[in-house]
Each structure stands twice: as C-alpha cells, then as structure tokens.
C-alpha cells in the first residue's frame, strides 16, 4: 500500500511542474490559431510596420515634428523648402537640394513643418490611442456588465438603463458634447471616447456572463462552497472574456476614428502636437491645393485602422469555436 502511494505522490509532483507548461501550451495553440489566419498575418505585419515607425521615429524622420524649416532660428535655410519625390521627381538628379535649402519628402505645412516627419512622429500618439481607449472602456464596461449580469435585479436594471441612454445617442455627437462640457484636450477626448464605448462592452459582458453562469461548472463551484466573488473571478469572467477580446480588437479601429474625428473638429489634440486626426482636421481646407497635407496623415490613419481591423477579424475567426470543431 505504501509503495504505490509514494509513486503516486511523485507523479503528482511531476504533474504540478508540467501544469504550467500545459497552460502555456494552450496559449501557444491559441496564438498559432490566430497566426494561421491570413487576415491576422497581414494585420500584424502592418501593425508591426507602424509600431517600428513609432519606435524609430527619431531615426526615420529627418526633422523634429515641430521644427519650423523656415524660421528665424534655422540658419542657412531659405524661404521655400526644396521638395523631393513628388513635386520635383523628374529631376531625380536634384536628390541633393541646394545647400541652403531644407530637404523635405512631402513638403511642409502652413507652419513650415515637415509633413513626413509629422506623420512619422504622429504614430507615437495615434498608435497607442486606440488600444488605450479600448482597454479602459473594456475594463470599465466589463465591471459594469459583470455586476449587472451576475447580480441581476435592480443593479442590472439601473446599470443597463444607463448604458441604454448612452447608446441611444450617436457615439460621436455624444463624445463632442462631452468634450464641449469638460473642455478640449487629448485626455478629455480620450475620456469622451471611452465613455461612449463603455456600453458596447458592458452589454457584451453582461450577455456573456448571463450565459456563462448557467453552465454546470459554475453550479458545481457553488456546490463546492465557492463564494460569489470567487465564482465571478475564477469561473465566470475568464469564460466570458473571448467575445470581449474579439469586440475589442475590432473596436480599436472605431475608437481611433472617433478620437481622430474629435481632433479633426479641433476638440482633441491641440497644436502643435502631431497627431493624424488633428493634422487632417487642421489642413482639411487645403485638400485641393496641397493634397499631401491631408492625404499623408489620412493614409497613415487608414493603414492603422486596416491593421487593427484585419487583426480583429483574425482573432475572431481563431476564437470562434465552430471553426475548431
């Protein structure tokens, strides 16, 4: 009787060591599933490109985003910066501008700042905006949704009616109203977009929690004596998170556009910070005269939205249980 007990304990000890690797194996499998999606591959590639741009902005951008290439403090530069690539492309020999001329790729904006540099540096602001907004919105939304779904009753009623009220306004209009109320600025714009995004995640969490908590394994936990908060933390939330990840990855693109829209309206990021939405908004009137002023940041923004959308699609497909069975 003694001997097998010892060996069993040994096996159990071994199993404890391997359990960590079993968990990471599952994570690896999920990652592999995501990466097996063509859309996720493309999205990730684009995103990596943008992230690298943001990280190495100092190296890539020829100028600081706020440099006035025409200003008094810029010795040796003439009134009109020399533009490469598009305007004078046929004259490839002119790669070297005259020594007293600043070289730019896409030209300069109204304040004589290099457009290309501003777009590159803009990635540092615009790129993290989406994930941050969505992250905060998911966190708050998930708490609301989990409480509503798990507790039910009046707390469910009150929370969800509030969410319904928020949802009944068009998101952008409400965000504009909020910013108008609390004042302009990057943080306030982010806060406004977070507020209008919360109901989506709250509702999603609530329905996921409602269906998860009906599972027998939740009942089993309760029968074993687990407390309500333990059930919520250990059983319900981990199993309700998949739809949130999917919706979140798709929601990043929307959030980015909403912040950009606020900036475009002059309610978000203020001058001189380089941010794509703000850049588009500031020079929108020049779209016919100096299209690159608008098209360059617009292209960057579109690329980012596309990247997040493709990645979100990939994650959704990979986590869809129907595809696995």
């Amino acid at each position: 009787m003694k001997a097998p007990t010892v060996s069993k304990a040994k096996v159990a000890a071994q199993s404890a060591q391997t359990s960590g690797s079993a968990r990471s194996a599952k994570l690896r499998e999920t990652t592999r599933n995501v990466l097996a999606q063509r859309s996720a591959q493309v999205g990730l590639l684009l995103l990596m490109f943008l992230v690298l741009t943001a990280v190495f902005a100092d190296v890539i951008a020829p100028y600081s985003p706020n440099d006035n290439l025409n200003g008094p403090g810029e010795p040796g530069r003439r009134a009109e910066p020399c533009i490469h690539l598009f305007y004078e492309l046929p004259v490839v020999s002119a790669w070297g501008c005259p020594a007293d001329q600043a070289e730019t790729w896409l030209g300069t904006d109204g304040n004589s700042r290099d457009i290309f540099s501003r777009v590159v540096y803009g990635a540092r602001i615009s790129l993290p905006l989406g994930p941050i907004v969505v992250g905060i919105a998911i966190l708050i939304g998930a708490i609301f949704g989990a409480i509503a779904g798990f507790a039910g009753g009046w707390s469910d009623n009150i929370l969800m009616r509030i969410m319904d009220i928020v949802l009944s306004f068009p998101a952008l209009i409400l965000a504009i109203a909020i910013v108008t109320l609390i004042g302009n600025g990057l943080y306030n714009a982010v806060a406004a977009v977070v507020i209008v995004s919360i109901p989506l995640y709250a509702r999603l969490t609530r329905s996921a929690v409602l269906s998860t908590r009906e599972n027998d394994y939740v009942t089993a936990s309760r029968a074993l004596g687990e407390s309500s908060s333990g059930i919520l933390r250990r059983r319900v939330i981990p199993n309700s998170i998949t739809p949130l990840i999917v919706a979140g990855s798709l929601g990043i693109a929307t959030a980015v556009l909403e912040v950009a829209a606020l900036s475009f309206l002059g309610l978000g990021i203020s001058e001189p910070t380089a941010e794509w939405g703000a850049m588009i908004g500031r020079d929108f009137n020049s779209i016919f005269t100096r299209p690159l002023l608008v098209l360059a940041p617009a292209f960057a923004l579109t690329t980012m939205v596309l990247a997040f959308n493709l990645l979100g699609d990939g994650i959704r497909d990979a986590l869809d249980p129907r595809l696995n069975r």
Binding site: K8, S19, A220, L224
Partner: protein, 369 residues
C-alpha cells in the same frame, strides 16, 4: 442556529420481502415547494408562477440510493438543487442530519456544502473548459483550504485513481476527454471533499450504453467503498431501478409513488407508474405485455390540473368513469397495504383498486382530453 431537529432520527427497521429499509434519514425534505415567478411586461411584474416542486416529502436514508424518476418538467432536477441549497425553496424545510438547513446562508452553509455534492448530466458543460482537469478535481480542497499544495495534489491523484483516470490526465484540458471520462472527472470532483450525499442529476443520460454501464458500476462501487448516500435523478426507469434501493416516481412537482425497487416493478399501484413501466421499450422482442399508452402531453406546471394533477391523462380515471374526487381532492401519499411490511406510498384516490382495474381494463388507453 444549528439546533438539532426535535424529531430526532431513530433507527426503525421495516422488514420487507428481500429488502430491509433501515429508517435512518440523512436528509429529510418536508413539504418542499419551489415556484419560479414568470415575469412579463416592461415592469417585469410576476404574472404567473411555475410550480416546479409542489409539496414534496422525502427521506433519504444513510447509505442508500433514492431514485427520483419522472418526465421532463416533473421537478426532479429542482428537488436536487433545493436539497443542495443551490436555489431557495418557497416553502417547506430541508433537514440534513438532524439540522434544519433551509434558512442557512453564506458562512453558515459552507460546512454543509462539503457534505453534499452533485454530479451533472452534461459532461461537456460541467467542466470549466479553461481549467486543467487536476485543478477542477482539486477545486473543493482549494475552496475549503484543506491541506498543503502537496497534500492536495496527492488527494487529487488518489481521486483520479479511484475513478479510473491516469495521473497524467491531471495536466490536460477537458476538451481532450470523451464524455465518459469527463463524467469520471466530475465524479472525482464531487468525491474530493468526502461528502456524505451526492446528488446524481442524470449522470448517465448523455452517455452511450456501454459507457453508461461503466459509470453506473463505478457509482455503485464507490458507494460500497465510502458508504455514500445518493439521490439519483433520471428519466430512465431501467437505470434508476438498477442503481436505487428505493424509487420515488414524480409527476408535475409531486411524488406519485414511493417504494423499494422490487415492489415498484412487481406491483406498481399508481396509474402513472404503471403507464411509465409499460412505456419503456424492453430489449426483448419476445416479451408480451399490456401496454398503456397515455394520451396528450404533460400539462404545464404553470397551470397544473386541479385535484390529482395526473387525472386528465389518467387511464384509470377514464376507466372508472371520471370520478369527481380526482378533480377536486389532492390525493395523499398513503400505503394501500400497510400490513404487508413493504413501504409503498401511493398518491392515488384509487390506490387499492388500480392493480385490479388494470386487469379489467380492456383497452388501456385514455380518451383524448
């Protein structure tokens, strides 16, 4: 708070043919009721109630298996959940080992959670897909903070060995297992706290026949080894009869008949039990038996029939010419033959005649209601 119930359990022996009921109730349900409100409208007002369990008295003796059988919507699952205090009753009492646990909440209830466990029907929904099997089985130990990590692992390994799982299975996720194996995992999880009673809620209904037999045999051998008490809920009378010592047949939230399994097969007295017995397709083409085909569906528990709630479908009622009493009076659970030493409780106004009338009834088929 944990005052022993005044009606202390005294061992009373009822000798029966072949079986002996040692009257030593571990669990007593007294007039248990559960009505679920049905809400409607914007204000979610209660417009009606679904009477899932409508006054049930049951005793489950220490070490026995009480079978609970009935069709969908008869309240058998609800009784299991009420017993475990997973849902709150709307009436009646639950007495566990002499203590009234009906009103206990939170911390006061925790010690009793350890003593009562549950095994579920659906082997796929009963395990957390994100939890390693070893963690699932050991969850009870973690919740009640029993033992060191090493001790817990050993206990989990022992449990897995007991139910026929391999040690390396602890590091796998539920989706890697077949239905039968998952059911073993669920049983191990229920056993880990060394409970006194396990509510088995249709534990084999979702399994294939050959696997079903494995799980039934496992449950039986575990009961022998640990002196477990089972409340075995199922819709399959063959399965219930195989595993149970006594069987309660339920219909629309009430117990229709309660007796030991031999008696139930040999001499059922409730017209519903008779119909249920005759409705089971037997794997023997040579058997000829009188078939009772009940007409109509089980009525809704929202608006159950008056009096004996079985009367609209009852062949005996129609056969006897629709007596008034079945419509007006709720029949009590009474033994039609109190002197034969067999405990057989039947909730039928015509419990003394039912067996004889079955012989007489030429066409055992109720008239369309």
């Amino acid at each position: 708070m944990t005052e022993p119930d005044p009606v202390v359990t005294e061992a009373k022996v009822l000798t029966t043919l072949g079986t002996t009921r040692v009257k030593d109730p571990l669990v007593r349900l007294e007039g248990l009721k559960k009505a679920f409100p049905i809400k409607a409208g914007v204000l979610q007002r209660t417009v009606a109630e679904l009477r899932a369990v409508d006054g049930v008295d049951l005793e489950i003796d220490r070490g026995e298996t009480l079978g609970l059988v009935g069709e969908s919507g008869c309240g058998k699952t609800t009784i299991g959940r009420l017993l475990l205090r997973l849902i709150d009753p709307t009436g009646g009492r639950i007495i566990f080992d002499g203590t009234d646990i009906t009103e206990l909440q939170g911390k006061d209830l925790r010690p009793y959670r350890r003593k009562m466990q549950i095994v579920f029907q659906d082997p796929f929904a009963s395990l957390d897909p994100r939890q390693l099997v070893g963690d699932s089985i050991g969850e009870g130990l973690r919740i009640h903070d029993i033992g060191t990590n090493a001790e817990r692992r050993k206990k989990v390994a022992d449990m897995m060995d007991l139910v026929g799982l391999q040690p390396y299975h602890a590091d796998r996720y539920p989706h890697e297992f077949s239905g039968g194996q998952r059911q073993r995992i669920g049983i191990a999880r229920a056993l880990v706290l060394e409970p006194e009673i396990i509510v088995c809620d249709e534990p084999v209904s979702a399994l294939d026949v050959s696997i079903q037999a494995q799980v039934l045999n496992l449950l039986k051998s575990l009961q022998k080894e640990f002196g477990l008490t089972y409340l075995f809920i199922a819709h399959n009378l063959g399965v219930v009869e195989h595993i149970s010592d006594r069987v309660a047949v339920m219909y629309l939230g009430r117990v229709a008949e309660l007796t030991n399994r031999e008696q139930l097969y040999r001499d059922p007295r409730h017209p519903y039990t008779m119909a249920l017995m005759s409705a089971i397709p037997l794997p023997d083409p040579t058997i000829k038996r009188k078939r009772i085909i009940l007409t109509g569906d089980v009525p809704s528990p929202v608006d159950p029939p008056s009096g004996c709630n079985f009367h609209p479908r009852c062949w005996l009622w129609h056969h006897l010419g629709d007596p008034e009493i079945c419509v007006t009076d709720v029949p009590q659970l009474v033994d039609p033959t109190p002197d034969d030493g067999e405990e057989q409780l039947v909730a039928c106004h015509f419990r003394e005649q039912s067996a004889i009338e079955l012989e007489n009834a030429s066409r055992v088929e109720a008239v369309v209601s």
